[in-house]
């Protein structure tokens, strides 16, 4: 398997308020994501994991090091890799249909077929003509995921896509995302602050440290899917990450 994403000694800093004192956000980040892999990045809130994803997505510049996607340096956003935002990333002036087809050419002969396929896949049949304001938060995120998939990208970047949803909806969205990923086999790089979410989803979890963030540890989650959230292995993996992040598993079990 080859690398979809590869970061070598990546640094990111902002010019600080005082002169000559830049604020370091990211320090010597090394990581790689294989083609077709589902990788989660977890870390404490505000550690810079979202910044990291924005650098990989081409929305932010980095200060030092190499950011390679499909072997090429990143110079900006690219339609072959689609970003899914935390909330309200879909266009409120377009219907579900027009949102999902946003990334396709008008004369693409497969528009109908792709629309039906992805509407079905994300469970929005019957809502094709609805506007985002008529949908719930979870349904809007499904539209955004469908919009990303319909553009047939090689990689999908997800920045806490379920962060604004309530607990039960989040659980359902995770199950659905895994099913979709298994059908589509896209590479997914997924940022979350929710450790349980990462353990439920990922093949590998990259645990970031506090700011300035660096990769603290990479945990491989070798559990069959769908994952049994009561199994000993699942709980052990979860507790291990809590441990790495310096939290007691007892405090952190509520999923927040």
């Amino acid at each position: 398997m080859s690398h979809a994403v590869e970061l070598r000694d990546v640094w990111m800093s902002f010019p600080g308020k005082a002169e000559g004192e830049p604020v370091h956000v990211l320090e010597r980040i090394d990581l790689s994501v294989m083609k077709g892999e589902f990788v989660c990045i977890v870390g404490p809130s505000g550690c810079g994991k979202s910044t990291l994803l924005n650098i990989v997505g081409g929305f932010l510049p980095h200060t030092r090091g190499q950011v390679l996607v499909e072997g090429q340096p990143v110079h900006g956003p690219d339609a072959r890799r689609i970003f899914v935002f935390q909330e309200n990333g879909i266009f409120p002036w377009l219907t579900v249909t027009d949102n999902i087809l946003f990334g396709l050419d008008r004369d693409n002969p497969r528009r109908e077929e792709l629309l039906n396929h992805y509407v079905e896949m994300v469970g929005l049949k019957g809502f094709e003509k609805a506007y985002p304001r008529e949908l719930s938060g979870g349904m809007r995120q499904r539209v955004e995921i469908a919009r990303a998939l319909a553009a047939s990208p090689d990689i999908i970047y997800m920045d806490e896509p379920f962060g604004a949803l309530d607990f039960l909806t989040r659980l359902k969205m995770r199950t659905d995302l895994i099913r979709i990923w298994q059908e589509e086999r896209k590479t997914i790089l997924f940022v979350t602050h929710d450790i349980e979410e990462a353990v439920q989803l990922a093949d590998r979890i990259i645990v970031m440290s506090r700011r300035p963030a660096s990769v603290q540890e990479v945990v491989t989650v070798d559990l069959p899917r769908p994952r049994d959230l009561d199994s000993r292995e699942y709980l052990a993996t979860r507790d291990r990450i809590f441990g790495i992040m310096g939290l007691s598993a007892k405090v952190g079990t509520s999923g927040h």
């Binding site: 935002f85 019957g126 008529e134 949803l165």
Partner: protein
């Protein structure tokens, strides 16, 4: 169940209210339609009654009672002046206002999008904007004479600034996530403008247009009092000067109010379209 209702039901189920914001149950009136029509009518009736009684008590033979105003309106309609003046005023507003939309919207969008243009031109706009269009009347007469062009110019001037400024602010307020998503899908500048910036700014631009239309309607009356000899503004000043016909003065005022209301309702209807409705729900 309709799509909207189904969406709303699931939304209600899964949405957690933001911290600190408790949902406040809305008080529903028992007969909303009756209240929405009946109450304003009741207030209007009381107002007319109070007006009538006050004129009678004051013993004034110059200031008209409501019924005199109604007779005045009928008189104007019979002479054919009412329609003529309304058309004259509406014509000036239409031309001046259309010019302001054609200039103000594109200029505002450009200034909102290109920072350098904004920095260069915004201070100038902010200086010109607070100058009342009334202050421009002598200048307009100097440039255009006593002619249709003077009030049209004043209307253009009064509406072009609110339209420009709202279009400018609309671009600057676009959620960055829309621009980022559009860039991600590889949209070029032209496509970005057509498929994202234009639809994203439309609700706020429309609001600016509605406010500007109200201002334009205020200004046409003032401009017609000085610069021309037709229109509702001219009617008012002429009725006063030629024989203190205050029944016709107030008749003119009533027509101005009613047409102003009609214009506002017209633009408000545009705000109901699906393409812009998302921008108004809060």
């Amino acid at each position: 169940m309709s799509v909207a209702a189904e969406g709303a039901a699931e939304r209600a189920r899964e949405q957690t209210p933001p911290a600190g914001a408790l949902p406040i149950p809305a008080k529903r009136p028992a007969h909303p339609a009756l209240l929405k029509v009946g109450l304003p009518l009741l207030v209007a009736a009381l107002f007319l009654l109070a007006w009538d009684i006050s004129v009678r008590l004051s013993g004034s033979d110059i200031f008209p009672k409501p019924v005199d105003v109604l007779r005045g309106i009928v008189e104007l309609a019979r002479k054919g002046l009412l329609l003529k003046y309304i058309v004259a005023s509406l014509f000036r507003v239409t031309v001046g206002f259309a010019g302001a939309v054609i200039v103000g919207v594109p200029v505002g969008l450009l200034l909102g999008w290109f920072n350098r243009l904004f920095f260069a031109f915004n201070p100038m706009i902010q200086v010109l904007r607070p100058i009342s269009p009334i202050a421009w009347i002598p200048v307009a007469i100097l440039w255009f004479g006593v002619d249709d062009k003077a009030p049209i110019f004043l209307i253009f001037l009064s509406s072009v600034f609110p339209i420009t400024v709202s279009a400018m602010a609309a671009v600057q307020n676009i959620q960055p996530v829309y621009i980022r998503a559009a860039r991600n899908f590889g949209l070029g500048q032209m496509e970005l403008f057509r498929r994202v910036i234009l639809p994203a700014t439309l609700p706020q631009v429309l609001t600016g247009i509605r406010i500007a239309l109200g201002v334009a309607w205020l200004v046409v009356v003032a401009a017609e009092m000085i610069a021309v000899n037709s229109g509702l503004g001219y009617l008012i000043i002429d009725a006063r000067n030629a024989g203190k016909r205050y029944d016709l003065v107030v008749a003119g005022m009533v027509m101005i109010g009613l047409i102003g209301l009609a214009l506002d309702l017209l633009v408000r209807r545009l705000e109901k379209f699906d393409e812009v409705r998302w921008g108004y729900s809060r």
